[in-house]
């Protein structure tokens, strides 16, 4: 590797299933430069960046970064603190419920900065990015541009030598975008040695980079400075240069877009908005917006993410009833229930509203069917859409795995499949490459001019705004200006629409709102202390308590900010213990019984009386025939029936043998056994009694049995159940909370922080586990209080011993949750699997109803290797038997043994890199 290259890739290939993301890439990335990766979506830019960042597992070839092989785990651990990686998507690596400060603080802690250094650095970073005024605002409530700046702060906190930014400005308004690049420029000016590797879909931005890598289809098309590329292709801007660099067959069909003039129609406007206002609480999302869109017009909405475009569109479609004002489509007021209007409108929402689990074809067919296209035309229509949007090669692939741009093409195909009169498109082209975008606009223009379809489109691409018949510039819920693009540019004397927009924006934000942080950026210099000033300790150590606590602290904050999760975690177990404690009763009482008394003698009546007087039985109307007995048993009306033969009294008096028939409902074996026990007991009592009264009746018993029911003299199941339900609930809820906690990060994408920062798997897992152990312990004390004060089950043993056992136990059950989370990919799967496994194992195999020693086979094995078994023993021993720690030593040891085992397995199963 030459001294001046920061990363070198040779023969690098990457495949997702049968898809090739990178195809034998060879490239040398120069150090100390701003290097841009340009190309459409889905060509492998993100994959390449992830490989360089060490976030993704290398499948093929060699990747050398900062002077070492990224294949080596040791090298990765060494260089990881020198690399910063910001994944694609607005705030993908941020935690939305945490405030701006807490987010940066978390990363600072991960890199082991001491408190003072950290706070000073955070203050500097927030000042220089203009985020300082929003220090305490949750990340989720920031605008797109601010989220990206916050992401940058988080990436810069540890002073990296290599900064990797994956599409940092996608979806950000032009002013914020310009500020973002200015910020990067200033940071580089301060730290000339830092290499920046950026991917971008905006070719305009790439002109300012030092060196470019143009990519297409998993291959590198060309490398060099922007000037070199322009010269080589003899083009004037990078958009054209890129198209020129494409292989010949890809350029086919591309032509410069010309928008033909619109023929103004007079049959009334298609869309009318009158003073639309939308308030969420005290936040005004859309403020008094009005416009009129003619039929067949292409009307553009320009603005940044979060400026109210989407909310306005939702009000137009009837998804959201406006707080005030009204909207009309084709002269009819928008009404949620009006299904006919919906049939005339095609809608494309911002979040690709496709079924990720379905294939491209299945998505198209489903929508065609839902719009009731005639069955015989569906095939043809789907084929037509597939051809038009070039979806042929993806036809039978699941949409989840497709690149952004292709998913959006499919979204559009779905929106127009039913030939609507009007199209409402919310950011249809963000993330789509220039060629496809031009193709897409060709289609829109076609639809508008030839078919007279009205198109209402929102975008943050200025060159798309220029193609609209009229546009509205939107910012912070208000329309800044509304006219034809040419008129807007003329009004501001600007040569480009972007400059005109920025002029309008600056005018709007110059007032009381420092929303975009304009002053912060212009006012203060970026101060990036030298690496020596940053207290970097323990970064490459195998285990750092600081990083562990950083994760624990963050998770704790998240749980505390999610009131629903917290309430359920705490109150849920209390509610359940009430239900279960009162509900599950192993007592068998109130058994319905009836007698077929064929004797009707004083003796038979006395026999029946004995049973009827017992609290265990409820007498039902007597039986009159065997057939009735059969029928009522079958219907479940009776649990037990007696048949006393005729001559019972006479035979008893004579001391002759006589049989009494007992029928017991065996449907529930446990109940049947108990019932039989009751009947036999009563039968013996009756005979004893009879023997005393009548010498001819022999005593039934040559010996007595004295039953001593220990620990629970009254034989009430609540004393047995409550101490058992506590372990049950301490298994479920902690395991579930934990499992979901980890899988959630996988789903939301913040798991990237595990891949990209020096945190180890053990620190990550234990850090996440700690808060849940805390929450579980709180709920444990609540449970004990309920048991003692509400159920009046006295705690005979020591509370301290019980708490110690509970602490170990919730550590194992949260560990179990961790283990489950390593298998599951989705939160649903994690939930279901955890629920089934813990429920089955705890209820049936851990001794809740039957001692483990009575189980056999697999059940016995599960019981032996399930922590609840041991905690159940401890809980019962302490609650009812007044045992001491000494008596429970083996259970404690067994419980303790689970902790390292579960943790080690979880660590082994968790991956430190993405596959």
């Amino acid at each position: 590797m030459t001294a001046d290259s920061v990363a070198r890739l040779s023969g690098v290939g990457l495949h997702y299933g049968s898809t090739t993301a990178l195809d034998r890439i060879d490239v040398d990335i120069p150090a100390g430069k701003m290097v841009g990766l340009i190309g459409p979506d889905g060509v492998g830019k993100s994959s390449l960046l992830a490989l360089v960042a060490g976030v993704r597992v290398i499948q093929q070839g060699r990747v050398e970064v900062l002077g070492g092989d990224m294949h080596s785990r040791r090298h990765r651990a060494t260089v990881c603190p020198r690399i910063a990686y910001m994944p694609q998507g607005l705030g993908r690596n941020l935690y939305m419920t945490l405030s701006v400060f807490e987010n940066v603080d978390f990363f600072g802690r991960l890199f082991g900065h001491a408190t003072q250094v950290r706070e000073a650095r955070i203050a500097e970073l927030l000042d220089s990015t203009g985020l300082a005024p929003f220090r305490d605002r949750p990340a989720g409530k920031l605008s797109g541009g601010m989220k990206q700046k916050l992401g940058l702060c988080c990436a810069l906190i540890h002073d990296p030598d290599l900064l990797i930014l994956d599409e940092p400005t996608t979806g950000v308004d032009p002013l914020s975008r310009r500020q973002f690049w200015q910020l990067i420029e200033r940071i580089r000016a301060r730290r000339p040695g830092m290499s920046v590797l950026v991917s971008s879909a905006y070719m305009g931005e790439a002109e300012g980079f030092d060196w470019l890598v143009a990519m297409d289809d998993g291959r590198v098309l060309a490398t060099g400075s922007p000037a070199e590329l322009l010269e080589r292709t003899a083009t004037r801007d990078l958009d054209d240069a890129f198209i020129a660099l494409l292989p010949a067959e890809k350029r086919v069909g591309h032509e410069v877009l010309v928008v033909p003039p619109r023929v103004v129609r007079t049959d009334g406007p298609a869309i009318v908005a009158e003073a639309l206002t939308m308030k969420f609480g005290d936040f005004t999302a859309v403020d008094n917006v009005g416009f009129e869109i003619g039929r067949g017009e292409i009307f553009g909405f320009l603005g940044s993410n979060g400026c109210g475009k989407t909310t306005t569109m939702k009000m137009l479609t009837g998804l959201l009833p406006p707080s005030s004002g009204r909207a009309l489509l084709f002269g009819r007021e928008v009404d949620t229930r009006d299904l006919d209007t919906r049939r005339r409108v095609g809608f494309m929402t911002q979040g690709f509203s496709l079924y990720g689990e379905l294939s491209v074809r299945q998505n198209l067919v489903l929508h065609a069917q839902l719009f009731h296209l005639p069955a015989d035309t569906i095939d043809a229509r789907v084929r037509e859409m597939v051809d038009r949007f070039e979806l042929g090669e993806y036809l039978d692939m699941q949409t989840t795995g497709l690149p952004l741009g292709i998913r959006q093409r499919l979204s559009l195909a779905v929106a127009v499949i039913h030939r609507p009169d009007m199209l409402i498109l919310d950011e249809p082209t963000s993330g789509v490459d220039p060629v496809a975008r031009d193709g897409f606009w060709h289609l829109l223009v076609d639809l508008s001019r030839k078919d007279g379809v009205t198109i209402f489109v929102s975008t943050h691409f200025m060159n798309e705004g220029e193609r609209c018949d009229r546009i509205s510039l939107m910012h912070a819920g208000r329309v800044l200006a509304s006219d034809t693009p040419a008129a807007l540019m003329a009004a501001r004397g600007a040569a480009k629409l972007e400059d005109a927009f920025i002029a309008y924006l600056e005018e709007a934000t110059a007032g009381a709102q420092p929303e975009q942080g304009a002053r912060g950026v212009s006012g203060q210099p970026v101060v990036v202390p030298s690496a020596a000033a940053v207290a970097v300790e323990s970064e490459s150590r195998a285990f750092s308590p600081l990083r562990l606590f950083a994760y624990a602290r963050r998770e704790w904050l998240e749980v505390m900010r999610d009131p629903v999760r917290l309430t359920f975690a705490l109150l849920g177990s209390l509610i359940l213990v009430l239900i279960l404690g009162y509900g599950i009763s192993m007592d068998v009482e109130d058994l319905k019984f009836a007698v077929l008394d064929r004797d009707q003698s004083p003796e038979s009546r006395s026999y029946i009386q004995d049973m009827a007087g017992s609290r265990y039985f409820l007498v039902q109307p007597p039986l009159t025939s065997s057939a009735e007995l059969d029928r009522r048993m079958r219907a479940g009306e009776l649990s037990v029936a007696l048949e006393i033969p005729s001559g019972f009294g006479r035979d008893l008096r004579r001391g002759q043998g006589v049989d009494i028939g007992v029928w017991v409902d065996g449907a529930m074996p446990f109940r049947a056994e108990t019932t039989l026990g009751y009947v036999q007991g009563m039968h013996v009592d009756f005979l004893q009694q009879a023997a005393r009264e009548n010498a001819r009746v022999a005593s039934p018993q040559p010996a007595r049995l004295d039953m001593r029911y220990r620990y629970n003299q009254e034989f009430r199941s609540v004393f047995a159940m409550v101490p058992a339900v506590i372990p049950l609930l301490l298994t479920f809820i902690p395991a579930l909370l934990m499992a979901v906690g980890v899988v959630r990060e996988k789903e939301l994408g913040s798991i990237t922080n595990l891949y990209a920062t020096p945190v180890t798997r053990l620190e990550f897992l234990l850090g996440k586990q700690l808060p849940y152990i805390g929450v579980s312990m709180i709920s444990f004390f609540g449970l004990v209080a309920l048991a003692v004060y509400v159920f009046e089950v006295p705690l005979k043993g020591s509370l301290f011993t019980l708490s110690a056992a509970a602490l170990i136990f919730v550590t194992t059950t949260t560990g179990l949750g961790l283990l489950m989370s390593s298998f599951a990919r989705t939160q649903i799967a994690a939930l279901a699997a955890t629920a089934v496994i813990t429920m089955l194992a705890t209820v049936t195999f851990s001794g809740l109803t039957h001692p483990v020693s009575s189980l056999e086979g697999a059940g016995r094995m599960i019981g032996t290797f399930f922590p609840a078994t041991y905690f159940l023993n401890i809980s019962r021993g302490l609650f009812t038997k007044a045992l001491e720690f000494e008596d429970l030593r083996t259970d404690f040891l067994a419980l303790l043994a689970f902790v390292p085992v579960l943790t080690v397995i979880s660590v082994l199963l968790l991956k430190k890199q993405e596959r």
């Binding site: 079924y355 999760r565 192993m586 649990s639 043998g657 039934p700 059940g859």
Partner: protein, 375 residues
């Protein structure tokens, strides 16, 4: 209406396709209805099984040896002989459920007709074994003593005999009970999870919003999920009944399987509607999971499938009458074990149907309201 049903049909097919692509969930369903039921029903026993027992033999006579020899499987483990001083310790440690103490001179006193007593110490915390086991011990000990006495004394024993007949499950095989109850538990749990999760997934992925801008109403969206998920679980129930419960476990099914399946369908309508209800109330997956536990666990434990309903406190019994599972459990027991026909079980079926209808309408109302409010 026809169009709406057609929409519901197509959306439902979509649900099935989505489920087909989620292999983890599929494996879960398959396991729950096969291996899950099999292990749960073979490994556990609701009746006395292998109860651990110890004997303190202070008599050391022929009779006491005979008594000790009379305890064997499957009800009891072979008894361990321990010393009298160990009784408290072994019970505290939970090593045995029963400890018999045969006093000195027991045999002599029996033969002398003095009715000597044997002390039986029972760990009453093991509620399920304690009472039934005590009855067995009484029978076994008295049987042995009686037989012993008969050889030595020519005196007639008990003239009045009790002749028990256990109906529907003559040997009280626990797997007959356990398997079907486990299946019912799985029906409740999976149908609620699958439907609730299908709804949340749409909400989280933004596709719900997309459905709403199409000419579709809340009714179709909900019905689609209800029928698709109910069908999946229903088929699983059918297969599991034939291949696992009747096949692998050899449980004889007394009644009509079509009747049971019809009842199961009604039950699934109720539980899937419940799934929609819960899915509407919760905003994301973790919330759904917690909510699930709060709802499903009581449904499973309090409906009479685990412990007899009549032993629960009165208010609990009354409240549980509003739960479909309560009626479904009694319906399933009547049909599958007792061979009851429609003439017997129609009240349960009616109750399930009524509850299902109420659940469906309530869930639909809530779902519709949440769609309107959400935007």
């Amino acid at each position: 209406m026809k169009i709406r049903l057609l929409n519901a049909w197509r959306l439902g097919v979509k649900e099935l396709l989505s489920l087909w692509n989620d292999k983890v969930l599929l494996i879960m369903i398959a396991w729950a209805f096969s291996g899950g039921i099999y292990t749960a029903s073979t490994a556990t026993s609701q009746e006395l099984h292998n109860a651990p027992i110890a004997i303190v033999d202070e008599d050391q006579s022929v009779l006491s040896a005979r008594i000790a020899g009379a305890f064997y499987g499957p009800y009891f483990k072979r008894p361990d002989m321990i010393a009298g001083s160990q009784i408290d310790a072994v019970l505290d440690a939970g090593a045995y459920t029963f400890v018999l103490n045969i006093p000195p001179d027991f045999e002599r006193d029996v033969l002398a007709g003095q009715q000597p007593g044997i002390q039986v110490n029972i760990d009453a915390m093991r509620v399920s074994q304690a009472f039934i086991g005590a009855g067995y011990i009484q029978n076994i000990v008295l049987g042995e003593v009686g037989e012993f006495v008969q050889h030595r004394r020519a005196e007639a024993v008990s003239p009045v005999r009790l002749v028990p007949t256990i109906l529907f499950n003559p040997n009280l095989t626990s797997s007959w009970f356990g398997s079907v109850m486990e299946m019912i538990n799985n029906v409740t749990m999976l149908s609620v999870i699958l439907t609730g999760a299908a709804l949340i997934r749409e909400r989280e992925h933004g596709t719900l919003e997309h459905l709403m801008v199409m000419p579709l109403g809340a009714f179709e969206i909900m019905l689609a999920k209800v029928w698709a998920m109910a069908l999946v679980v229903w088929i699983a129930v059918g297969l599991s009944l034939y291949f696992v419960i009747e096949g692998a476990l050899g449980v004889p099914i007394a009644g009509s399987i079509p009747l049971f399946m019809a009842g199961a369908l009604l039950q699934l309508l109720a539980t899937t509607s419940l799934g929609i209800f819960i899915g509407t109330l919760s905003r994301n997956m973790p919330q759904l999971g917690l909510m699930m536990i709060l709802v499903v666990l009581p449904l499973e434990l309090l409906s009479g499938g685990m412990t007899p309903r009549e032993s629960m406190p009165g208010p609990v019994q009354d409240i549980m009458l509003a739960a479909p599972t309560t009626h479904f459990v009694s319906f399933a027991q009547a049909v599958l074990y007792r061979g009851a026909g429609l003439d017997v079980v129609w009240p349960s079926l009616l109750a399930i149907a009524a509850i299902a209808a109420v659940f469906f309408v309530l869930s639909l109302a809530l779902f519709r309201r949440s769609l309107a409010a959400q935007g």
